[in-house]
Structure formats: structure tokens, C-alpha cells
């Protein structure tokens, strides 16, 4: 199969590990226009193939690794690729995004996507080139950590591998490419369940694009814009995501003591400032990225990837740990073992509170850190209490109690943002398709305190803003770009002049524009919005690369289609309104005793959200909506 569009390879392969067959999977140009690529393309494939509830660790589950049209065509921040599956952590659909160079190689190997089904009898890894797929024995690699595995695989190319956590089916095991992780949802355990240690892709030929000269111009302007923007040009390069710790503390957003507070008195010790001044070796970044937000620090004298803000938060304030070096050590160790730092940290804080309350005698205590490093190894190898911790906070709460303070949504642990300091983020955690994910939840905390300062406690317009940003990020991700490129949505003057008149007006009115947002979300595709200024560079770049018609309206509509398609998969697997929920601590206990608004008014927010989304009161997308989105005929 080929394609009339530029920037695509026009080929998706399906590998069945059980009988070792490789076939071409049909994906049409009509589908490319509707689903673009990446996580939305993967959702379409999963929706068409998994039609009933399955055991995520059974051969029936599938891994769908996809690229987008922006990969390998010179766009900035465009090494992001996607791996979707049914999550062993939640039982629902998950899509995990990664910035390693595997995706670029997969595309240069001539593939838009690779589907892996079945289960191999022997331990293997796959080697993908333009000539096809080879099955390679992985007995010698089994048991190795992720760094060692990537070094030991003799073939050159982009590598995507699991560590011991994936092999031992830790429910939140991740997959690593270079130093970057497809972190969330336990994708690594699905690899392990299939006896698949990893995949190597190698290719050198990028796909042709529709308008080379125009794309080069757009990419150049886009890169310049990223370098000029205060977030992507200054804040992230200078301080990384770790630079958020201070802001989070000051705005009651820093999850502390298993989400019993939004502030940590020793926040400076684990801040981006401390990391920069006392530990930073140099900046780093994904291939193709001009932002370079990654940090390089030292662990045991070796230069390694530093922690992101979520890891600093969950292994710092949330377990009352002020030793930043210990977080560097554990962050590196978790990457090497191949497990998600967010779910792991959050599960640990839950276990500490269980112990504190006398509900599980496990020896874990807030502020006690000497036993953590060995515990991480125990989790990855399922030894002792590590076997329970490897199951995640939801299953732990089913075994030991404490559901009201097990900080997960749909079984996926929340990130480090305490949602009682940003109730729109709380809504996002609750309704997100993959569970308690800050990004899939719409990341409204950026407007509620991190970037802008709209009222974090009001429900006004939050439902519409949540849906809109979910949809925007959905398409950005499907295209193959890093979500940080969506910061361009916020004009420079709004960010760089937080005390200026315009920013103050925007902060005031943003919570009162629900009707306007609803209009944006309801504009028919035929009348898709042509805005007088370019809010997102993505639209121009996608149009130049592919030859598709693209504007803001079409862009957001693709995201809406993707989000609803993922919801449909979840609904098929059992999700309804009852699952769009948060732990009781966040909805019933005040974060600040003197502030009666400092809890998440979830029922009110959910009701509005379903209405904005055109979902019925049980959280199911309506037929009218599905027809409008061309998801049914």
C-alpha cells in the first residue's frame, strides 16, 4: 500500500509473534486524513481489532507503535513516537509517548507503524529494516537492564527495550529508547508478556514531503518561534521541567506527604534552581529538539539523565524527602530497571501512608530513604514487598484498604500536581482516557497557576478548556511533535508580562468564556476555523509536509475524533461515568482548612464536561457526536 500524501511511508506492518508471520496492515489515505498518525492512528487500529475485554497480558493484546507525519521531515521537537496497547495497570486503553530515536528510525525503515500481536515461544527481539522484520533470539539479553540491553544488541539503529521490570510484568513497567521512556500505563509489561525484549529499527531514507521548500521555511520559522518563546526559549532550557517545583509550591500544587498538602517546606532543596546550581553537568534534549529541556546529572560518577519535575515531586515532597541526589540515583535506577517513575513514586507514598495508619506493616516511612534504592530492585524483580508494590496503588488498596487516599484515577497513579490547588486539573485526571495522567487530562494546571493565573478554584469554563486542550494535545501528539510545542498557543506577551494589563484581563475573563469555547468545539468541519493569526505552527507544517488541508479547526477536530475514539475503546472495555473519579481525599477533604474551595468539585465539573463533550450522563459519546466525527456512518 502506498499513499498520495507526503511525509508518510504509506506502510504499516503487523507482526504475529505466535506464528512468526509478517503481513501488511491496510491503512488508507482516508484514514490518514481522519486520524493523522501517532496515538490517534493507533487508537483506530486498536478499536478495529480489540472488540471485547481482554487480559492485557495475554497474547490477544496488541502493541501498536506508530509515528506521525512530522517525524523525520525536519520539524522541530519531532522525534516523538507512540506505543499504544491495553494497559495492564488500568485494563483500559493507554498510549505512551517517547522521545527516543526509535521512531525516527522506524519511519526511515519505511514504516508509519508496527503492530505486534500474539506471544513468542522463545525470548526474542525484533529487527526492523526496509528489507523486513527479523526475529532474533534474546536469551542472552534477558535479565539485563535497559542501558546494558541497548549496548548489547549488535544491530545499529533506534532501540526500544524493556528492563527487568517489563520481564517480570511489573504493572507500570516502561519501555526505553536511548534515555527516554514510553513511561506510562505498563507498556513494558505487555512487551514482557509477549517474551519481547525489544525492537530495533534501522533505516536511512526519510519519506518525501509534499512541498519541500515551504516545509523548510515553516520549520525554520517554527524553530525560531520556539527559541523566542519565554517558556520554550528560556525557562525550559535554563531550568528544565524541574524549574516548576518552586511555582508548584507557591501555588499549592506540589503534591506533598501523599497529597495531604500542596506545599513542602523544603521545596528549595529539590527545586530546579538547586539542580541547576549544584548538580547540572549540562543540558540535553531529544533528537530534533531545539528546546533541550533534559538535564544531565551525575550518579555514582557517571553522567546520566536527570529527573523531570514529576519524579522530583513524587520522590521528593510526596515522600518527605529533601535529598535531591537520592532522587537522581533512583531516577536513573528506575530507567535502568525499566519502570515508570510516576506510578512507582506514587505507589510508594501510598504504601508509606498505609504503614503509618497501621494498615500494612511494610517498613516504609515518610522521610526514610535508606531502603528505597534496594526496594526499587525488589519491585522490578517482584521480591518481598516489591511484589505487592509492583501491582500499583489501586490493587494495593484492594488488598490493604485505603482507597480514599490511593492516588490514582482508573488505576493510573496521578502525577505530581496536587489538584486541589487547580480543580480543572482535577477534572482532567478524573476523565482522562488513560487514567490519572496530567497530559491526557488536558494539563489545565498550566492555565491555573504554572503559566497563567486564572482562578484555580472556580468551575467556570474549566470543562470547555479541559476538552479543548485535550483535543489540541491529542493532534499535536498524533503529528509526532512534543507537547511542549503547544506552548506557542499562549502568546509571548501573555507569558512574559504576567503583571501586564492584557495578562490580567485574560486571567479574569478566561473562566467566563465557556460559551465561546463550546462554539470552537462545535464548529462543523466544513466551516473549520481559519483564524487570522497562526496560533499553532503545526497546521502550516502538516499542510506543507503532507499536502492535506489543515487549519486550526481541522486540527482540533482530529484531536476531538481521537479523544472520542479512545473513549469508545475504554467504554467497550467497561468505562463509564462511575470510573471518571478521584480518590475521596481530593474531593471531600480541604487542602487548606481556611479555604472552603480547596477541594475538587468533581460532580459539578464532570456534568459540565460531559455536556461540552456531547457525552450522555453516563459518560458515553452520543451517536450524534460520533456521526459528526465520522466515527460511525
Amino acid at each position: 500500500m502506498s499513499t498520495k500524501f507526503g511525509a508518510y511511508c504509506g506502510k504499516v506492518l503487523k507482526v504475529d509473534l505466535t506464528d512468526r508471520t509478517v503481513t501488511e496492515y491496510p491503512f488508507t489515505d482516508e484514514e490518514r486524513e481522519l486520524f493523522l498518525g501517532g496515538k490517534i492512528m493507533a487508537a483506530k487500529i486498536v478499536y478495529d481489532n480489540i472488540t471485547e475485554k481482554i487480559d492485557p497480558l495475554s497474547p490477544e493484546n496488541m502493541l501498536v507503535i506508530t509515528t506521525g507525519p512530522m517525524n523525520a521531515v525536519g520539524a522541530p521537537c519531532s522525534s516523538r513516537f507512540n506505543c499504544s496497547t491495553i494497559s495492564p495497570l488500568t485494563g483500559y486503553y493507554t498510549s505512551s509517548n517517547c522521545g527516543g530515536d526509535f521512531g525516527l528510525h522506524l519511519k526511515r525503515a519505511g514504516l508509519d507503524g508496527l503492530i505486534v500481536t500474539g506471544k513468542s515461544e522463545e525470548r526474542i527481539y525484533l529487527y526492523v529494516t526496509p528489507d523486513g522484520v527479523e526475529f532474533k533470539n534474546a536469551d542472552a539479553l534477558w535479565g539485563m537492564k535497559t542501558g546494558e540491553t541497548q549496548q548489547a544488541i549488535p544491530e545499529k539503529g533506534g532501540k526500544f527495550v524493556i528492563g527487568p521490570a517489563g520481564e517480570n510484568l511489573v504493572k507500570y513497567a516502561c519501555v526505553i529508547s536511548g534515555e527516554r521512556a514510553a513511561g506510562r500505563g505498563g507498556v513494558g509489561a505487555v512487551f514482557g508478556s509477549k517474551n519481547l525484549k525489544g525492537i530495533v529499527a534501522y533505516g536511512i531514507k526519510s519519506p518525501e514531503v509534499y512541498d519541500k521548500a515551504k516545509l523548510r521555511k515553516v520549520n525554520k520559522e517554527w524553530t525560531a518561534r520556539l527559541k523566542m518563546h519565554p517558556t520554550t526559549g528560556t525557562q525550559l532550557p535554563e531550568l528544565g521541567t524541574a524549574g516548576l517545583v518552586t511555582t508548584m509550591h507557591s501555588k499549592n500544587l506540589l503534591a506533598t506527604n501523599n497529597y495531604r498538602s500542596g506545599k513542602y517546606e523544603h521545596f528549595e532543596d529539590v527545586s530546579g534552581e538547586t539542580l541547576r546550581e549544584e548538580h547540572l553537568v549540562r543540558n540535553n534534549g531529544c533528537t530534533t529538539c531545539p528546546i533541550r529541556c533534559a538535564r544531565v546529572v551525575k550518579v555514582d560518577g557517571k553522567e546520566v539523565k536527570g529527573p523531570e519535575v514529576e519524579t522530583l515531586g513524587l520522590f521528593g515532597p510526596n515522600i518527605l524527602n529533601r535529598d535531591i541526589q537520592s532522587i537522581f540515583d533512583w531516577n536513573y535506577e528506575m530507567d535502568e530497571l525499566g519502570m515508570d517513575t510516576i506510578s512507582c513514586g506514587n505507589t510508594l507514598s501510598f504504601a508509606m501512608e498505609l504503614n503509618e495508619k497501621g494498615m500494612w506493616d511494610n517498613g516504609l516511612e515518610f522521610g526514610k530513604i535508606d531502603n528505597i534504592r534496594s526496594l526499587l530492585d525488589d519491585i522490578a524483580h517482584r521480591r518481598g514487598i516489591g511484589d505487592d508494590l509492583a501491582e500499583g496503588s489501586k490493587r494495593l488498596s484492594e488488598k490493604f484498604g485505603g482507597k480514599e487516599f490511593a492516588m490514582n484515577a482508573k488505576g493510573m497513579e496521578l502525577a505530581a500536581y496536587e489538584p486541589r490547588g487547580a480543580v480543572g486539573q482535577g477534572l482532567g485526571y478524573a476523565v482522562a482516557n488513560r487514567g490519572g495522567c496530567h497530559l491526557n487530562g488536558g494539563y489545565l494546571v498550566v492555565m491555573e497557576g504554572l503559566g497563567l493565573s486564572i482562578n484555580p478554584y472556580t468551575t467556570g469554563a474549566k470543562a470547555g478548556l479541559c476538552a479543548m486542550f485535550q483535543d489540541l494535545m491529542e493532534t499535536c501528539s498524533a503529528g509526532g511533535n512534543c507537547l511542549f510545542t503547544t506552548y506557542a498557543f499562549f502568546p509571548t506577551f501573555l507569558i512574559s508580562k504576567p503583571n501586564g494589563m492584557i495578562a490580567r484581563v485574560v486571567n479574569k475573563v478566561a473562566t467566563k468564556i465557556g460559551f465561546a469555547i463550546s462554539l470552537i468545539l462545535r464548529v462543523p468541519t466544513a466551516l473549520a476555523l481559519h483564524l487570522p493569526f497562526n496560533m499553532l505552527p503545526h497546521t502550516k507544517a502538516i499542510a506543507a509536509a503532507t499536502g492535506m488541508k489543515m487549519n486550526f479547526g481541522r486540527f482540533i477536530r482530529i484531536g476531538e475524533r481521537g479523544y472520542n475514539l479512545e473513549r469508545l475503546i475504554d467504554v467497550r472495555l467497561g468505562v463509564s461515568a462511575k470510573d471518571d473519579t478521584l480518590p475521596e481525599r481530593l474531593t471531600t477533604e480541604l487542602q487548606i482548612a481556611t479555604n472552603p474551595k480547596s477541594k475538587v468539585p468533581l460532580d459539578k465539573l464532570k456534568k459540565k464536561y460531559y455536556k461540552v463533550r456531547y457525552w450522555d450522563e453516563n459518560g458515553i459519546p452520543t451517536k450524534k457526536l460520533l456521526k459528526r466525527l465520522k466515527l460511525v456512518k
Partner: protein, 81 residues
């Protein structure tokens, strides 16, 4: 004395973590800091300014009064992660 703390880009730009100064309003503080760092007072408008962890946009902006012992924080305006 007012405790003035610098974070994020403010700390990088002024190469200072903390100062102790006398000032009766944020406006006056900005003027004193401008002289101290040899920059214009408007330089400080690009930062989020908190007085005892409350954003001045919830107080009286640059007319916000300061009293002995207040902690003023200058933060980077924005980010996400």
C-alpha cells in the same frame, strides 16, 4: 526588613538568591532593586511577584504595602512540564 527571594530566571538574571531590604511597597522595592542591580524598575514587571506567597495580582499590584518580615518572591513567569 523585607526578605526578597529570587527564583527561576530571576535568580539566573540577577545572580542573587536572597536579599534583605527596607521598602514600604512593591513599587518602592522594585526601584531599590533596580538601583541595586543597575537595571530599570520595569525589569521586575516580567516576573510573577508573591508577597507571603500571595500573588500581587490578588493584592494591590505594585501598590501592595510591605511590612517588616514580609517575604517577597520573584518567580519565572511560566512553564509547563
Amino acid at each position: 526588613m523585607i526578605v526578597v527571594k529570587f527564583f527561576g530566571i530571576a535568580r539566573i538574571k540577577f545572580k542573587e538568591k536572597e536579599l534583605h531590604l527596607e521598602a514600604s511597597t512593591i513599587k518602592e522595592l522594585a526601584e531599590i532593586l533596580a538601583e541595586h542591580f543597575s537595571v530599570k524598575p520595569k525589569e521586575f514587571k516580567q516576573f510573577v511577584i508573591l508577597v507571603n506567597e500571595v500573588n500581587i495580582n490578588k493584592l494591590k499590584m505594585f501598590r501592595t504595602k510591605l511590612v517588616d518580615g514580609d517575604v517577597v518572591m520573584f518567580l519565572s513567569p511560566a512553564s509547563g512540564g
